[in-house]
């Protein structure tokens, strides 16, 4: 068997070594944070400003939890930061629901555990309506006739007994929609059933891997702002002045990205050096 040269070996580092290196560079900054500065990007700032400007006293905000448990490490900090921002606003009614992911209401409950309620009371100022099966059909039915579709909240309380729901007939009574999604069903379905027909102001939060695919909606103004990935979560935490899990995780993002960057450079050095050596050998 032909023995691999140094340059060839540089191109084919064993995946187990890479995995071990990734794990090490994730763990070290989590144990000893580097405290790297976070600069707020334009997309996150737009999302923050949209929430800040639209969620005025007397307004109604819907937050849709359309992600799954596996997304929690990345989506959780975004959900906590954005929900906290809405809770910070005085005299705003908050409606939490899910129409794409049945785990949404449970993750909403988990999110609320990390949120400072700022004196807001369940049932009076905010409510968790739970999950509605049916995807786009449920979205369309909700938008058209809220009392027609929603009979009880997540805990079985009739909506007539929830002051937060009083006077809400259709999506026209909602001022802002925050969509926290991780895939399909998610934003695109809400875009079709809520944003386009009703023109509701929308802000989003999503995974880093989903973010690039959602950028056309930001460019078109259908999403007034988009918080993407752990980086976006960290930026939002900075904007609301409440450092949390995303801020802690960003150092690990930096170290892993540097590791991948170095590995890619090494791989390319190996590739070009090996190619050059083969050419010289003829």
């Amino acid at each position: 068997m032909e023995r691999k040269g140094f340059w060839d070996r540089l191109q084919s580092i064993d995946h187990r070594i890479l995995y071990a290196a990734v794990i090490v560079v994730i763990i070290i900054p989590l144990l000893r944070p580097l405290g790297l500065p976070i600069t707020v990007t334009d997309a996150t700032l737009k999302a923050y400003k949209a929430v800040d400007e639209i969620a005025k006293p007397g307004s109604v905000v819907i937050i849709a939890f359309e992600f799954i448990a596996g997304n929690w490490p990345e989506m959780g900090p975004i959900a906590v930061a954005m929900t906290q921002h809405v809770f910070n606003k005085p005299d705003v009614r908050i409606i939490i629901l899910a129409m794409g992911r049945d785990e949404g209401p449970i993750l909403a409950e988990r999110t609320l555990r990390y949120v400072d309620k700022k004196g807001k009371e369940y049932g009076r100022d905010y409510v968790n309506l739970g999950f509605f099966a049916g995807g786009e059909a449920a979205m369309a039915a909700f938008a058209r006739d809220i009392p027609g579709l929603v009979k009880k909240d997540y805990y079985g309380t009739p909506i007539e007994n929830l002051p937060v729901m009083s006077g809400l007939k259709s999506l026209n009574d909602i001022d802002l929609f925050i969509c926290l999604w991780s895939g399909t069903p998610g934003w695109v379905e809400y875009l079709r059933q809520w944003q386009t027909p009703y023109g509701i102001a929308c802000v989003g939060g999503t995974l880093g891997i989903v973010g690039p695919g959602a950028q056309p909606y930001v460019a078109a103004g259908q999403l007034k702002g988009l918080v993407v990935g752990l980086r976006g979560g960290g930026e939002y935490e900075k904007l609301i002045n409440r450092p949390g899990e995303a801020t802690a995780g960003l150092d690990a993002i930096s170290t892993t990205h540097i590791l991948i960057f170095v590995c890619v450079i090494l791989g390319n050095i190996g590739y070009f050096a090996a190619r050059g050596a083969r050419r010289r050998e003829g």
């Binding site: 500065p37 976070i38 059909a137 039915a141 006739d145 980086r231 960003l250 990205h257 540097i258 890619v264």
Partner: protein
């Protein structure tokens, strides 16, 4: 019974429901009478979708019971675990509600970490894949490598410490070439969806009816 098995019946239902939704969506103001019927049909869809969850439950139970009966090698033991956990969560959720401490404990301490661990494994695969795939073998590969590295460094706070241009160039890549490509992709998908919708409404697309006998 042969009357009920005719394929024309579901095709007819699809045609009526499809046109009803289309008329409601595009001509709501012109034909307000459709709104009431459309809202009722949408509520039916929500109820039918809830039944679909029950169908999923029956289907999973059937598949895994089958594995158990046949003692499928390397599978039946996981089938027992799957059925046990699924029915445990259903029973606790139904009789104690999802706020029950046992349900919450199962979700928070078993399901959530397992699901998060499955998702986080991606970090390892992507790191390895990036290292192996990002080779500047030609100009196109170089472009992909460069844009990948720049957007990656844009997402890490350390990126702008290394070079102030990473966020600027990264943002440009994200908002200009990325948006252009994504829009082209979206428009293609939408055109395809419209043609599929028309074919379905006209009864030419019958995949949703299952295999023809």
């Amino acid at each position: 019974m042969s009357f009920l098995r005719q394929r024309e019946i579901p095709i007819g239902i699809t045609l009526i429901a499809g046109f009803l939704m289309l008329i409601d969506y595009y001509f709501r103001a012109e034909i307000p009478q459709v709104a009431g019927i459309s809202t009722t049909v949408q509520r039916w869809a929500v109820i039918i979708a809830a039944f679909a969850l029950l169908m999923g439950l029956i289907n999973i139970t059937r598949i895994h019971l089958n594995h158990l009966m046949k003692r499928t090698r390397g599978q039946w033991i996981f089938s027992i675990w799957c059925l046990f956990i699924m029915y445990l969560m259903i029973i606790v959720g139904l009789f104690g509600t999802v706020r029950h401490p046992i349900y919450q404990w199962l979700y928070t301490n078993i399901f959530l970490p397992i699901d998060a661990a499955m998702y986080s494994i991606l970090a390892l695969f992507i790191s390895s894949a990036a290292y192996r795939a990002f080779r500047a073998r030609n100009f196109e590969a170089f472009l992909m490598l460069a844009s990948g590295i720049i957007t990656m460094m844009m997402n890490a706070p350390i990126g702008e410490i290394i070079w102030k241009g990473f966020p600027v160039v990264g943002d440009w890549i994200m908002m200009v070439p990325n948006v252009a490509a994504q829009r082209a992709f979206l428009i293609c998908v939408v055109v395809g969806t419209v043609s599929l919708g028309i074919r379905t409404l006209l009864g030419m697309e019958r995949g949703y009816l299952g295999r023809e006998e």
